[in-house]
Amino acid sequence: MPRRTLNMHSLVRGRVRTSMNKHNLFNLYKKSKPFFRNMTLYQQKWSSKQETRAYHGEQVNEGRWSTLFQHKLQGVAQLDASLKGSVLPTPMVLQTYAPLEKRLDVALFRAMFASSVRQARAFILGGHVKVNGVDIKHPGFTLTPGDIFAVDPERVLEALGRSKPSLKEAYKVDKLQVIQWQKFVQKAKEDPRGTWEKQKDKHRKNQNLYSGKFVPEKSQKDSTDVKQRLDSLQELKLKKMKEVQHSVSRKSVLRDIYTTSKRLVDQSKDVTAASFEEQFGKQLSGKCFQVYELLAKENKTMELEPEKATEEMNKIVPVYKEGKPQGEYYDDLRSKKLRQLLSELNTKYLDKVRDDFTNKPLSEDEIIRMWSTSLRKHPKIPDFSEIQEKGFYFLNLPWQHGMYGLKDPSKPYFTPWNPRQFLSPFAILPKHIEVSFITCHAVYLRDPVARPGESEVISPFDEDIHERAYMYYVKNGM
């Protein structure tokens, strides 16, 4: 049984541990070399032993460790050394704690399948670890070269990811996010240009600050890059064009002409060809005017009530079913001419719609306008007491879909997965283990050895400290 952990990451004591904790990072960061000059030899050995044992096999009792300790240290000789000329000395004393690296819990931590050795122990005891396909429940299991060990991927995602928030924590974060978002949308609606520029500036700053780094919330939709936006708009544009084209028919053209002219008639203005230019363009406006004249002069549609006028128009352009007109309709020469005119208008108008969509490039102003109009306020999140009963709430922000860290609350880790903070200073690929993160499998290649200039045992302490710790354990040495 290991010792109970009491304030493992004490900042006052400042020991370095096998852990990815942020306190541990600071302890490592502020570490200074022990001041050996004013110590007796035994004090030197004792303090070195303290420092190194706090990192190496802190979870192993001293008695158990003394059975593992070997006074003969493992190193390698390089046969091509004589060809190279000068060869660096081999730091053999760094092998003092090499026997601990064979332990399964330590290997698990080295392979980065757990965020600390203590957590690795918990994974093993919980039955989440297999060695060569066999469930192993002993943290002290000794690995032999060639062994393949695996951890339950969910555990690894838990260990390397951010900690999963509780519903309350997620709610707190999301509440704030929604409030900020509402304010942002409000501002964007009021002053699109200014907000856009501000956003652009912020993005540029972040890009500079976090270049080459993993940044949690990065969304394509959020981009202020005009070119990128245009690309994403292209699809949207095509979709919209299709929509418009589908809505255009003889009847819709007729109705458009009617509504445009009716508005002018009601305001007691003259209807001319120019009044149709806005919607139909210069070339089609003449034909539109002909339609209007036919409508106004012969049918007197303009003087009718709106409901009556619609009925009238339905009679001019009836609904066709299997090639035959349905219901009551006009079959005289004038109506035929009107229908023919409308057909011509319809086809030409469709062409015009297509041309408008493809040829007209969007300016930045238009993009900003589209951006600001596309922004929608988020529906209000209910009070926490309500949510507590339900267990979830709806959230959809441009950079986050679902609750913060709880997109899939059934998973034991932060979803969607994000790397934990301060992972990179502790991410050390071991040389004696080959790791496959995608399957959470690893192969223990060999026991770590020392070679000229380096040791495969990962340790924050250098030769001088390890030398004294080694001396402490060999006992008969000095």
Partner: protein, 349 residues
Amino acid sequence: MLQIRGNAELFNGSANAVKLITRGQVSQVRYRRTLAYPFYSKAGNIPPPRHGRKQTVFKRLMDEFLGPKNYKGDYYLNKYAYPNQNHSTNYIDPSSERGNSLLKAKQRDAVSSTEKTEEGVDFSRDEGGHGRQRRPLQPFPMNSHCFTDVQISKEMKEQIVNDVVKLKMPSQNVALKYGLKIQRIEAIVKLSQVEDSWKKAGLITKDLQRMSDVMYNMFPLYDASKNGENLTEIPIPEETTQSRFVTIAESEPFGPVDAAREFGLEPAAVTLQKLSEGGEHSAHSNRASHGTDTKSFVAKMHEGDRSAFRFTDVKVGQVGYRYGKSFRDNRKDRKIGFDASGKMVYLLD
């Protein structure tokens, strides 16, 4: 505040104080707790507490190092908070930063020094200037003998698997081709098989894929010409780790070969050859021959026998309890081993 400052001064002055008191002799204090102040902190320079809270000096110093925290709990300005994703390492460098570990908007020099590590790193190169050793693969600033491994790129792994599995190249040749040890080649092949079976079974989730991508982009990539493994390594023979004395005539020549004979060592070439054998994909696999040297037979059965007995050669002392040998089964921290089913057993020693 006064008391705190006093502590800090005590710490910084402690080295001198000890020197003054003990000129000529070392102090014989049985227990003195030295507080782990950062090596860069000065007596008067204790940062203010965060948000007017009551905080210890150490907590304040840590908060200064971590930097501001946003509403999600991210230390968004700390250099080490988010992992690098451009195949470069992000290890701490306290000696040049001295506690100031926040990201700066324009840090062209610092960025370029880490970006250099993108492919293949030379161990011997000095980094960071100031005449100080700053090596990108060295994770701990205090240990100049510890280095992280580099990642083998996905493409290279595919090539290796293709060479071994499809082209049936012996692992010795593949190892030579890529500058990787045979065991590593074998491991890569083994792990790729696992990966394939997982892909087929649909076990690779989106989150798992994301995690593995992040981890992949965090480490520098392997380049055979720069960080190839030394393939001529052999373990130092155990016999040579202690001295042996031989009496020889003064005029008698005595070289390494004689020494090897004295120790009873085989030539290194033979050891190296032995090391390269035995893998699953080896050119001269000795797996098959391995089984033959353990003699085992099933004894003839007689009428009325209910079970057949298999007899296997074992060395005396390795199995069973030898009469007369001391056997303290109540000893503390007895040696332990594990059987094939993963059950812990106490070993006889």
